[in-house]
Amino acid sequence: MFVCHCGTNIAGTVDVEAVADAMKSESGVVYSATYQYMCSQSGQDIIKKAIRDYELGGIVVCSCSPRMHEATFRKAASSVGMNPYMVEIANIREQCSWVHKNREDATSKAITLARAAVAKLKLNFPLTPGESGVTKRALVIGGGIAGIQTALDIADAGYKVDIVEKSPTIGGKMAQLDKTFPTLDCAACILTPKMVDAAQNENIRIFSYSEVESVSGYVGNFTVTVKKKARYVKEDVCTGCGLCTEKCPRKKIPSEFNLGMDNRSAVYIPFAQAVPKVAVIDSEHCMMLKENKCGVCSKVCTAGAIDYTQKDEYIEEKYGAIVVATGYEPISLERFGEYARGMSPDVITSLEFERLTSAAGPTHGKLVRPSDKMKPNTVVFVQCVGSRCEPSLGKGKEYCSKICCMYTAKHAMLTKEKYPDAEVYVFYIDVRTPGKNFDEFYRRAAEEYGVKYIKGMVGKITPDGERLNVSASDLICRKKLEIKADLVVLAAAIEPSPTARALATKLASSMDTNGFFTEAHPKLRPVESPTAGVFLSGACQGPRDIPETVAQAGAAAAKVIGLLSKERLTANPCVAVCDEEMCSGCSVCGNVCPYGAITYVEKEFRVPGGRTKARRVASVNEAVCQGCGCCAVACMSGAMELKGFMSSQIMAEVDAICRTSR
């Protein structure tokens, strides 16, 4: 028993000598001492010496929170041959001396806590962590800029990486952007070389038009089934010549890449720089697949790549680490009827604006009104549409979408660049520009380009003849504004990809209330998910811009490389264990296990009369089990237990705590 003063942190309120004295008379305690700073080197030496001198079986340290120094004391104990799991901490600082003022009360509570720790320790037994190997291959889910960068960095370190991308090409949202802030360089110019790099890197395999079907296993040893959706085009044969797309008779299908602002054919290549540059047949619209009529593409394809009989293919692969890079989507603006999205095609979202200004877009970079293809003379930008909303209202998102202030400034600038005589308004609540060269960029829009920034949200947009009437109020001038606009651009909030939720379930990875993946620690472990072996990259974790995404992608890659470079991993030894004699194989534990760590096996047991009987019993995979203990509670007979937190141990603590007088 070692009682720490922690300077005056503990000793100031708790009579540490009294605690040590009281514990001397506790049964099982053979040594009890205090020291100024137990965690210091000399404090640890006292512990080590006592363990040796008294041949202690276990120790209790009354000190700060175990979250602080449990590891320190365990290490000290194990350095002199004691099993580290024979160390118990009584938290008499954070949960005693710091929260209580009365010395007598605090001391008596400290004694109780020490007793509880002793009671538990008496039932402890040495634990040894299990070990497992590491598969030297990583999986990256999502082929946007985050996924591509992560894969490139991992491949660069010499490890194999697979990218799974749900759409027919990698590139993600960045491929749809025109220019990037704050440098205004063209998104395609910096992204497409990376896409090509990824395709050509011999360590990288790209599964495009594919989805993660199921995930099993654990850190170092994941088994993932990838569903490669039938694209009805042989990927290795297609040359990407595009002849089939020209000849296809079904041409009136809204293009996903151009957000429905122009059309594509039923067999299509999403865009010119697509990787892999291979056609795909949309089975919902293809006449051949639907009604067995047509077959034009097959006829014109000189390479013979068209295969109408292709089926979904399932590929199973083992991975040591998984990186989630599922990105974001703009929210649906359905609930914002006041902004007349449904009434006029000239009310567009920012992403649509990107396509309108992009040279590869539906207008070849000519910024015109979607309704009549005329030049807009007055353009209104509305920020924060659906961001920073009270979540209980169910209309928008609570958070700031982070990227809108900057891209709106960019859009305003681009508009002015194309049409210097145009009137450009930006309605804002706050302009947030915390980034390198960000505020300078925004100021340039306002100062050099003459973009009119007005503080105040737009109330309603109403079609008025061919134009749009924008009702707003200028909060600084206390003036109602009615602006006749030709084009209105809404900066829609962004949200996690709709596929993320199901993926999180498959990965047993947690999400926050907004559906973004949670990190293991918001400051100290920002690219790791709480689930070991699963890492996070890009906007799947929260709104971020391209520079941040790329930085995070690199960080995630570094973590993956660190993991894959290990030969063996040690596991947490506090895992569930099944007493097979008592287990009745009822499956209850398996039903509640969030990790699928429990399987059932038939085993022979001796029964009275010298015979044996086969019985179904639970078996815990120690490498998969994370030690939550849910199964131990679900088990009716008490056959399932959690090492380190056995029922008997917890009950011993309960008893010790409730033993004190009233």
């Binding site: 004699e581 008592m582 009745s584 039903n591 059932y600 009716m636 007979s637 029922s647």
Partner: protein, 347 residues
């Protein structure tokens, strides 16, 4: 008097045994009087023909016996499943308690079974009982029951008394409207009852008491418990290899309740362990020698589960997962549960 008469059961049992499909039959065995029927395992056709009985007193749920009986034979065990039994049957299957391949399940209809306690209170020892339409005619051995003394008219009828069917049915049958849910090998008949009383009426009555009254009520009930373990042994949900009450490291090991806490503890933990798995077959109350209304504990949990997590009937299918082993993101918070239940009660 039952929808499926005894002879049909006997005929099927005998022919299945003669065909070598089954060598064990789980059914009801005749006792000395028509009212003392016990569950029985028949291993030869002779005893089937002589002793198998299907009447108004066949209360026992036979499913649980499958666990031990299927182990004893290489052939199949024949079992007759009433609608209520089929739920226990499914539940046991979903917990892998027996091998379905080794069972020959036959669905039989049911009109309900008598509450022997009720009948005995009404007319003392019974000698015979008949059914005429919706009436039950009971013949008692003696005429020493209270009601007869008070009512001279009845004395004129001698020992014969007439009751409405519903007056002597066991409580669980009054609120039963179950249909056979098991995947049976054969159906002899599959009719069940229509509920005539509300299943949660009694639970609600207790809920409406004050906290003190509830405490006193259950104290009174539990204090009668003699820890004979009949409830546990008969319960088709209690199938642990080793019961938690016999496990010294569980912290609740206990053979006989020493004081009021242990009396309550046994029943609280037992009810909680069968929660979400209990099929409300009512066997616990039926076999309790002290007439403790144990099913009202289980029904409370069933009722809460239905209100909080949606209608759920344990044993409805083999693949179902107990609401206690599942969850949804929008489950009620413990702090709002009281109010939710209160609101549903006032509706």
């Amino acid at each position: 008097m039952q929808r499926t008469d005894r002879d049909a059961l006997v005929r099927r049992a005998v022919s299945l045994m003669n065909d070598g499909v089954c060598d064990r039959v789980l059914a009801w065995r005749r006792g000395e009087f028509s009212s003392d029927v016990s569950p029985g395992v028949f291993t030869d056709t002779e005893s089937v023909e002589k002793e198998l009985v299907r009447n108004f007193f066949c209360g026992a749920n036979l499913s649980k016996y499958l666990i031990s009986e299927t182990e004893k034979t290489e052939k199949k065990v024949l079992i007759f499943l009433r609608p209520c039994d089929s739920y226990s049957f499914n539940r046991l299957l979903s917990e892998h308690k027996f091998n379905r391949e080794k069972v020959y399940a036959v669905a039989v209809g049911c009109d309900g079974t008598a509450d022997i306690g009720k009948l005995k209170r009404k007319c003392g020892a019974l000698s015979d009982i008949k059914r005429r339409g919706d009436k039950i005619i009971a013949e008692s051995l003696y005429e020493t029951n209270e009601e007869n003394e008070e009512n001279e008219e009845n004395e004129a009828n001698g020992a014969e008394r007439v009751f409405d069917l519903e007056d002597v049915l066991s409580e669980r049958c009054l609120s039963c409207n179950l249909k056979n849910r098991a995947d049976c090998d054969e159906i002899i008949s599959d009719g069940g009852r229509d509920a005539v009383s509300e299943r949660f009426f009694e639970v609600r009555r207790i809920e409406n008491m004050s906290s003190e009254e509830r405490y006193e009520f259950w104290r009174g009930e539990f204090s009668r418990c003699i820890r004979c373990n009949a409830c546990r042994d008969v319960c088709p949900a209690c199938t642990c290899e080793k019961c938690v009450f016999s496990n010294p490291s569980s912290g609740v090991e206990n053979k006989a309740a020493a004081n009021s806490f242990e009396e309550s503890m046994f029943h609280i933990i037992r009810a909680f362990h069968v929660a979400g798995r209990c099929t409300d077959c009512g066997e616990c109350s039926r076999v309790c020698p002290q007439s403790i209304p144990l099913h009202l504990l289980n029904r409370k949990l069933i009722k809460d589960i239905n209100i909080l997590y949606g209608e759920y009937k344990s044993g409805e299918s083999v693949s179902q997962i107990s609401p206690l082993n599942s969850w949804t993101e929008n489950d009620a918070d413990p702090s709002e549960v009281a109010e939710l239940l209160e609101r549903s009660r006032s509706k």
